[in-house]
């Protein structure tokens, strides 16, 4: 069995009396695409921020490539982040920079690459997500939501990371654009041979991009299996979520 690239072991996180994560155990191996399902407010984003080191767990461990990175700071944390890409739910593109400066942000700031070289590399990466050089000098506000997601994907993959996180990659997009984003995710993850962790509540997206699917409920992973088995999980919670029923053990987040 391949050694996992990322492991979350017994991760717990609370905000005051609100216990968001209650012992999450999950891992992903290189070249595999794991999708984590969960309803609104189930703690998916908190789990992802803990994995990225944007939050520190109250208990448990985050292991990246065999190293415990739970409490890493400074250069050790930067070394991990240099191998990780992240596509934020909102895109999180920097408004004050052009499209190419967004895509090449790490190259310009962390790697101190020459601007002309960084721009060339950004334009090459934009081509990989089906965006032409004509958008390179525009600001994020001047392009559509679907294009912003592609720019954010280009920013996530430009340094050829070993692990890519996708936070609700298709949220807010029409079904056709969402499917195009899913195709790009699959294509780029395969091309890089990277591990991918996506969190979503979009079942169409989950079915398309996942090798494996896990379900987060009340702060724990309650089911995990191959994507092909999601319709036969034998778990009432998963079954209700997959079929989008209001009736069942999961109470709607009203």
């Amino acid at each position: 069995m391949t050694k996992p690239l990322l492991e979350l072991i017994g991760v717990e996180k609370s905000f005051g009396p609100n216990h968001v994560l209650r012992g999450v155990d999950i891992d992903v191996a290189p070249g595999r695409s794991l999708v984590i399902l969960g309803g609104s407010g189930s703690g998916k984003s908190v789990m992802l921020k803990n994995a990225l080191g944007l939050m520190t767990p109250d208990a448990g461990k985050i292991v990246f490539d065999g190293e415990d990175v739970t409490h890493d700071q400074g250069k050790e944390r930067e070394a991990m982040r240099a191998r990780v890409g992240m596509l934020f739910q909102s895109g999180a593109l920097f408004d004050s920079l052009t499209v190419w400066e967004n895509v090449a942000f790490r190259l310009l700031n962390a790697d101190k690459m020459k601007r002309s070289d960084a721009k060339d590399q950004a334009i090459e990466t934009l081509k990989k997500v089906r965006l032409g050089a004509s958008v390179a000098d525009l600001r994020p506000a001047e392009i559509s939501g679907g294009m912003q997601k592609r720019v954010a994907l280009a920013r996530a993959i430009i340094t050829k990371p070993d692990l890519i996180f996708f936070d609700e990659p298709t949220t807010g997009l029409d079904p056709i654009t969402a499917d195009a984003i899913n195709d790009l995710i699959i294509e780029q993850v395969k091309a890089l041979g990277a591990a991918a962790v996506s969190i979503t509540h979009d079942m169409a997206s989950a079915r398309k991009v996942a090798d494996e699917i896990a379900m987060l409920y009340e702060g724990k992973i309650i089911w995990r299996g191959p994507a092909s088995e999601i319709d036969h999980s034998g778990n009432d919670h998963v079954d209700q979520f997959v079929h989008g029923r209001a009736d069942g053990p999961i109470q709607p987040a009203l």
Binding site: R81, F88, A92, L93, R106, N109, A110
Partner: protein, 271 residues
Amino acid sequence: MSDASTTSSGGFPNPLAWLGRGTLGLLSEIGRISIFSGRTGLAAFSPPWNLTQLWKQIVAIGFYSLPVVGLSAVFIGAALALNIYTGGNRFGAEQFVPNIVVLGITRELGATITGLMLAGRVTAGIAAEIGAMKVTEQIDALKTLSANPFRYLYAPRFLAAALTLPILVLVADIIGVMGGWLVSVYALDFDSTTYIRNTVDFLTMEDVSVGLIKAVIFGMVIALMGCYQGSKSSAGATGVGRAATLSMVGAAVLVLAANYVLSTFFVQIGI
């Protein structure tokens, strides 16, 4: 349902609990601002510096504040001259208008008015920009891209404000004195040459330096309050709006408080 720990038996708020909670909250906030200021200062005064961001902020904070500072200064100088003339008239001291205008503008009003105007224009702008970046996950994105927000966002604003405020205050001093001259010559029938000679004769480097030193401190306060409130902005338009308001009010009060403390200090050391 009332909280038993904060209400007395009659259902009225327990003043001791209220006072205790307020004190603890205030101390926590002072602690958080101190840590934030320390980290920003450390990033500002140690390499590497992000010169591109620094230049952008010098233009945004310094250059684009020139109109508002200039307009405020001319009116303050003009009003000051009128009031000194009217007040001085009561005991035959109208001739001191140029002296008091230049003293008041350089030691006090140039720096204070610039500080207050920038608390409105710059602090609220910084808080709103950083608050919006926070709620749209741009600050998280910076961290994942190995950019430290203290170096990339806060330190350039802090340095830019500390560097440009003295220049703005110098401009405010010149325009403020000009405002006084305009009113004195064209409304109060002062002789232009005499007014200018009296102003120049009375002006000392110490008076100008007092205003410029205050300006450096005001610049730091203005940038820190904007960055701090923006960085802890809560989600949504309300959160960003609240951060902008709190930052502006906080910066204005701190500018006035710092002005008093610094004035006391300069008087104590005889400047």
